[in-house]
């Protein structure tokens, strides 16, 4: 369902590619974890998939539509079917939970309605449903700034689910949470994605999490794929290959974290 071919991107003013000739084919319903050290290019790769980062070359086909070649409106339409969750939640802190979740319905609404904050009954219904699903029932009129970190990420997940996505991208979705919440949030994402057969691609630092939640691990080092396979096939040698013998290897790469 997602076919990435020869994707390369280098940020302005850098002398190394952030993503270097990556080709990857992901089937519907796969749970892919992109594993790598800080600065390995995993986040850039993820952001290329929904074109938040405009890659320099290569192609990305989503349901056999090339998002990189698509015109503005078309690429917005493709992007709409891809939900995204972020490390820092990226919610409007001063707005209510409901207002944030409703933003996931923007793609079903005209620009004018958005300017006046108008949403249909169905949008509201959908938002409340998704909030119930992530366990935030009754909090819809709470201000986001009053919530805990774990609750905020649940709001972000509800926002992504409101898009009715085929794919969910997770850009280090649990990195700013404590270990207990990390597990809760990963459990939530995984169970929903299995239930709805949503393809999920997540960047993670932690080897343990990757092994537990992924159906497939893609290891990245300096923008290139160095491992691609089932979590069970990952050897000690592969792990060193992915992280290098860096600080990250000591912190995240060893089991038993």
């Amino acid at each position: 369902m997602i076919a990435i071919k020869h994707l390369t991107h280098r940020y302005d003013g850098r002398d190394e590619d952030a993503v270097n000739d990556v080709s990857l084919s992901i089937a519907k319903g796969e749970r892919v974890v992109i594993l790598g050290a800080s600065g390995s290019g995993k986040s850039t790769l993820l952001k290329c998939i929904n074109r938040l980062v405009e890659p320099q070359s290569g192609s990305i086909e989503i349901n056999s539509e090339d998002i990189l070649k698509a015109k503005k409106q078309m690429s917005e339409r493709i992007r709409g079917k891809i939900g995204m969750i972020f490390q820092n939640f990226n919610l409007l802190e001063r707005e209510t939970v409901l207002a944030n979740v409703l933003n996931g319905r923007l793609r079903f609404n005209s620009a004018l309605r958005a300017v006046f904050g108008m949403f249909s009954k169905q949008d509201y219904h959908e938002a409340e449903e998704q909030l119930k699903r992530v366990g935030l029932e009754g909090l819809s009129h709470e201000r986001v700034s009053n919530l805990s970190g774990g609750q905020k990420q649940r709001v972000a997940i509800a926002r992504a689910l409101c898009q009715k996505p085929d794919v969910i991208l997770g850009d280090e979705p649990v990195s700013s949470l404590d270990p207990k919440l990390m597990k809760e949030i990963m459990d939530l994402i995984t169970s929903i994605c299995i239930e709805e057969n949503i393809t999920v691609i997540t960047c993670l630092h932690f080897l343990d999490f990757a092994k537990k939640y992924a159906s497939r691990i893609v290891g990245i080092n300096k923008g290139s794929i160095v491992f691609d396979g089932k979590p069970g096939d990952l050897t000690e040698k592969d792990i060193v290959e992915i992280y290098g013998k860096t600080r990250d290897w000591y912190i995240y790469g060893r089991t038993g974290y």
Binding site: G80, N103, R107, N109, A111, A114, L169
Partner: protein, 276 residues
């Protein structure tokens, strides 16, 4: 602190060779003294001139007492008109500044030409004082409060436009990314991702300018652009010193009242919400 002054600031102003370095502070002192002497000479500022004027001042103040309250009703109505000018002028200015400010924000407007043009327009509106705008509009639409409203609106449009566009540029790009990622189009991203972030700043600046505009509106009358300032200049020209005092008291009183009111509103609108 000494380090910063000696190494950072002074070095930047006067680059000196090693031998002269120890005299640097002394040299700076001389330069500053020369600037002051030059400015004082140019403006004929002198204590003796001031002393010579004191008897005149005492006489002027004496003639103002007691305040003449016979026309107070009319003056109060004029004070209300001044307030109305401030309200209408600020609102028109803010309403025009708001959409334009998005075109003058670098993170939204990719075309440098448009961005620069709008910024320059804001600078012209803001750079010319309300009084000068008042003079211009009076000659265009005649005497009365309407040219005053236009003058306030023009100046405020420039000032708020500048502030608005600068606050739009401070919007968190990650949050904007998050809204973009939902498949929203550009207008939706602005309305739902950027405006909510900067709304409190917008409200705060607008209220501040409403307050400011009332003060500005009191003097706009001096050039014939309506409000209580018009009464002030009339009474002064007719040497009705006791009326002048009444008007001054009303002016100061109303300004104080507006300041209090605006501070209270701002506290309610902005202060009540915690900043994340």
């Amino acid at each position: 602190m000494v380090h910063l002054w000696e190494d950072g600031i002074l070095k930047g102003i006067i680059p000196l060779s090693e031998g002269w370095k120890k005299y640097r502070s002394f040299l700076i002192g001389i330069v500053i003294a020369i600037i002051y002497l030059w400015a004082i000479r140019g403006t004929e500022t002198s204590i003796s001139n001031f002393a010579k004027g004191i008897p005149n001042m005492v006489d002027f103040v004496k003639r103002m007492f007691p305040p003449d309250l016979s026309n107070i009703g009319k003056f109060l109505l004029k004070a209300i008109e001044t307030l109305q000018m401030a309200i209408v002028g600020s609102t028109i200015g803010a309403l025009i500044a708001f959409p334009l400010s998005f075109l003058a924000a670098r993170n939204i407007m990719p075309r440098k030409m448009v961005y620069q043009a709008i910024r320059t327009l804001f600078d012209i509106f803001r750079g010319i004082n309300e009084i000068v705008w008042g003079l211009i509009y009076v000659s265009m639409v005649g005497l009365g409060p309407f040219p005053g409203v236009l003058a306030l609106a023009t100046h405020v449009c420039g000032a708020l436009g500048r502030y608005f566009s600068e606050s739009i540029e401070t919007a968190d790009p990650e949050l904007v990314n998050a809204i973009t990622a939902t498949g929203a189009n550009k207008i939706q991203v602005i309305a739902r991702g950027i405006v909510p972030q900067i709304k409190p700043l917008f409200i705060n600046y607008s209220l501040y300018y409403l307050e400011n505009n009332f003060r500005a509106a009191t003097v706009l009358g001096l050039v014939g652009a309506g409000g209580i300032g018009m009464e002030l200049i009339t009474s002064m020209r007719l040497f009705k010193s006791r009326e002048v005092l009444t008007i001054l008291i009303i002016m100061v009183g109303t300004v104080m009242l507006i300041d209090r009111l605006s501070a209270a509103i701002r506290k309610r609108v902005v202060g009540i919400k915690k900043i994340a």
